[in-house]
Symmetry: C2
Subunit: 553 residues, 2 copies
């Protein structure tokens, strides 16, 4: 009898980080991919636009990939598809809104001929040897699903992003019944969202925010501006309902939000009373207490509409004394200072700013500890793999799993690229495949590496100083220069003396080299670099990048 | 009868920001300065080391400055003194520990001949027309004081940084009695710390952290590493006491912490049992469960001892499975991601990491809303000026003042440089003086301005591309080049073709210019810049800085 093929799980992204979620499920010669997300660059990735997973492993096994299933339409789950689909032409499965948002992205990047299959919660599709079932979950975007992959070895349940919202805005509660059935039938491996594993208790219902809107609308005397994540359809829906109740018209400012509202509305995920949405021009003609502006910029993004309003730099919207600004979001780690600055600016303009997380003006889309335990107890998996989180979150999540009775040896904290192999009875780490970060900068995908980033870092700290000299090769004589040009080092007009002294140092080096008969460019350059670098450090305690250029005639 | 001179308050730092606190009290031809702090650079201040206040106003009125009084020894209150004292030789007044810490700084920067007067709480000193009284307050560093300035117009009370700790570690409770007396006698203006004005309730006592230490020490099986702010003497004292109780020796790693402990211990602000403090070498020879390491790096600073330990990059300290790491601090806004990364790394090494703010492992040194109201009620000032905070904190603090009954028209939210003038009965904004940020980069104070920062920003995003060409002036011929050198733009080895194409574009421009008889360098340069810039943007969607250099022979 032939040996049964192996079942393995290989995360290519999302482990030890928030972002670029991508999970490989492999059974023998068949690969199923769950999600395909991007990540926003870390602070030290200077000039980088986005980060996507390294898919070398998928390209090496191109002919084995049977399909990609998507859990929901957030960037960190679908954002890398436009890049990945260029190299991997496989069908993509997702719910209607998820694919609706994806299609916009594919069109933007001019990617065609992708086969998209729309699925509904409780649908099952056969993808190679995998029967893939979609199970509804609540999240901060509609139409989110968990994915149950039925394999010959057992069932793998991947929660995607979820929360246990007992009163979701769209009434679509997490499908406890199907999750319970799956748990009853037996789940081999559970992979579950670790984003909020550090938070005790329960995440509050999205509906709480609607009540807070209502209260603030009642107190608002002038214009109301609400900012939130562009993709938070439930939040936008609630803002619209409350505006309708308070007899205000709504206008939307910011490209990405307009786009999401268009897609969600067209596909039937929003309920917008006729005539409620108006253009900004029209809104500007209405009394200020009859208007709500929905806008992007909840993260203090420098180019966003809200930032420009806060800095009195928006062409069409002016914040006036008495306006109410509702920041319905918490800053993503790293954005705290940007957001704080916007809040300060808005206060300076005399606005009433509603922003504290304490004021129920935002709730998370991810499950806190009690919800995570509920999911663990519903699924009752043999093996548990915390996913979607930074390392300490995975650790905390694994502690919760132990608390509900999963044996420590059946819990696996895996990093990107680690291979986790399962039989019906056992699971173990067996090795590693290539995994990592691919940096996207403009049109370049992966062409900015450590050397370029290191140079950008150096340049950003103390600038650059370029030393140019033209030399007559035959005679070994300097015929022009040395000239010195600097950028980002000192304000040159105020430092002429310093630059002249540096030039003198260069001349000195060149003369010495000539005297000693040194004519190898690399040796001359390195002496120029050392001498000038040392001189400038002594004078300024700065270390600009020093770039000697020798021209030959 | 001559008109009475005017009393005015002019903040030169600390308003609308956390950092570089500096308050001018002026009465006629006499200036008293309260505090003289620095600020750490904002993210966009690339390469900058520290930021100090612009003291143009003080230099213009040099002969009027009678003295500088210090409230406590934190960097944001004393850190600019080494720069300011170079230009302003006036006596400095402060408590023993504050001056002890200052002296270290002055020595480091080689500043001598400063007259320092040591004062004690309840001391009064006459400085020009001002009788300045020092009033004890609790804070996260010992020997902190509020300052009551008795002027002919009335009393100004400046709280400095404080909290209402009912059980301070050193037993030195905030001097409620003197504050109450001052309030009873009548305070004209209160200036009070706004750092935590957004936080409801009370800030917990420092002593809470000692209890948390105790609990964690009891559970710790191997080595314990504690990190906190180097200047938090109370915290360090508590760690030392708990270590002694649990029969562990203590070693200190990190220059700034060793320095603070030395100064505080010498001046009698710490109580360290004989033989408890040992050298690291000795600690490394002891069993792991007999050692506590106190160390810097609580903010995830890249070069700090803790960061190096976390990355297995510290020469003498290795984190092993089972070690307990206590991060007794919360990240300062902007440092969240750095700290999170260190925590993740420590978990990966198998350490038990105690870090949540929820776990009582850190308390703030600043007063929450109930404490602020207590201070307002004790002082019962006629006028109130919230100080030491970002704009929204000042707003929140002013709302608290209204809550306790100070009329809105007697509350002034002032920005740096605004002049606030008081008589016995009235207060008003009367104008502005120069105030702002002076950037310190290496030895350069104020020589890095907007142009240099803008260049650093540009360089950090897409790097630089230098185009060099040598031209024979008489014949107008290109005799060498064009050569192209880039840094931080693309990885050159993989982009030879792109660079060759760019060179061809440059040649084309030079030929055209020659054909048309254009020989003005500035015009040629700008054409090179435009053409190459456009070409590269089309090819890469990046905008490196383009720097044409023309050499003449």
């Amino acid at each position: 009898m032939a040996k049964e093929p192996k079942l393995s799980l290989i995360p290519l992204g999302g482990q030890g980080e928030i972002g670029k979620n991508m999970m490989v499920v492999r059974f023998g010669e068949n690969i199923l991919l769950i999600d395909c997300g991007l990540m926003f660059p870390e602070e030290e990735m200077l000039g980088i636009d986005v980060v996507i997973p390294d898919i070398a492993y998928l390209l090496e096994n191109k002919e084995l990939v049977r399909g990609i299933v998507l859990t929901h339409g957030h960037e960190d789950h679908i954002g890398a598809l436009p890049y990945v689909l260029r190299h991997l032409n496989v069908p993509v499965y997702g719910t209607k809104l998820t694919l609706g948002l994806l299609q916009g992205k594919l069109k933007e990047q001019n990617i065609r001929d992708v086969v998209l299959y729309t699925v509904k919660p409780r649908d099952s599709v056969q993808i190679g040897p995998f029967k893939v079932e979609f199970v509804r979950v609540s999240h901060s975007i509609p139409d989110a699903v968990a994915v149950a992959v039925h394999t010959p070895v057992g069932v793998i349940l991947h929660t995607g992003d979820f929360k246990i919202d007992q009163t979701p805005v769209d009434g679509q509660v997490t499908d406890f019944h199907r999750l319970a059935q799956l748990g009853e039938e037996g789940i081999l491996v559970l992979m579950s969202d670790s984003t909020n594993a550090e938070r005790p208790g329960y995440t509050m219902s999205e509906r709480v925010v609607g009540n807070t809107f209502d209260e603030n609308f009642r107190q608002a005397k002038e214009r109301i501006v609400i900012t939130t994540f562009a993709s938070n359809v439930h939040r936008l829906q609630q803002a619209i309902q409350v505006a309708f109740k308070h007899n205000r018209k709504v206008t939307v400012v910011g490209r990405s939000m307009i786009n999401v509202i268009n897609v969600a509305n067209e596909l039937g995920y929003m309920d917008i009373p006729d005539g409620l949405l108006i253009e900004l021009e029209e809104a500007n003609r209405l009394p200020r207490n009859k208007v709500v502006i929905l806008t992007t910029g909840s993260q203090g993004e420098p180019m966003s509409a809200l930032t420009r309003m806060a800095l009195s730099d928006h062409r069409q919207v002016e914040i006036l004394r008495g306006d109410t600004i509702i920041i319905s979001a918490t800053p993503i780690p790293g954005n705290e200072k940007l957001v704080a600055r916007i809040i300060d600016q808005l206060f300076k303009q005399g606005a009433r700013v509603i922003y504290e997380s304490a004021s129920d003006i935002h709730v998370s889309g991810h499950p806190s500890q009690e919800e995570l335990k509920l999911m663990l107890n519903l699924a009752r998996p043999k093996f548990f793999v915390p996913v979607h989180g930074e390392y300490r979150m995975l650790i905390k999540h694994s502690e919760l799993a132990r608390d509900v009775g999963i044996p420590a040896e059946n819990i696996f904290i895996v990093e990107n690229g680690q291979v986790l192999e399962f039989s019906r009875r056992s699971g173990r780490l067996t090795g590693r495949v290539t995994a990592g970060k691919v940096l996207v900068d403009g049109l370049g995908v992966g062409d900015v590496g450590n050397i370029v980033l290191r140079d950008r870092k150096l340049l950003s700290q103390d600038g650059i100083l370029i030393v140019v000299v033209t030399i007559n090769r035959e005679k070994g004589l300097v015929v022009a220069g040395p000239d010195i040009v600097s950028r980002g080092f000192v304000y040159v007009r105020e430092s002429e003396e310093l630059i002249e002294e540096a030039k003198a140092k260069v001349k000195c080096v060149l003369d010495k080299c000539a005297d000693r008969g040194i004519s190898e460019w690399s040796s001359i350059k390195s002496q120029v670099r050392d001498t000038v670098g040392k001189f400038l450090y002594e004078k300024t305690r700065r270390r600009p990048m020093i770039l000697p250029i020798i021209m030959e005639i």
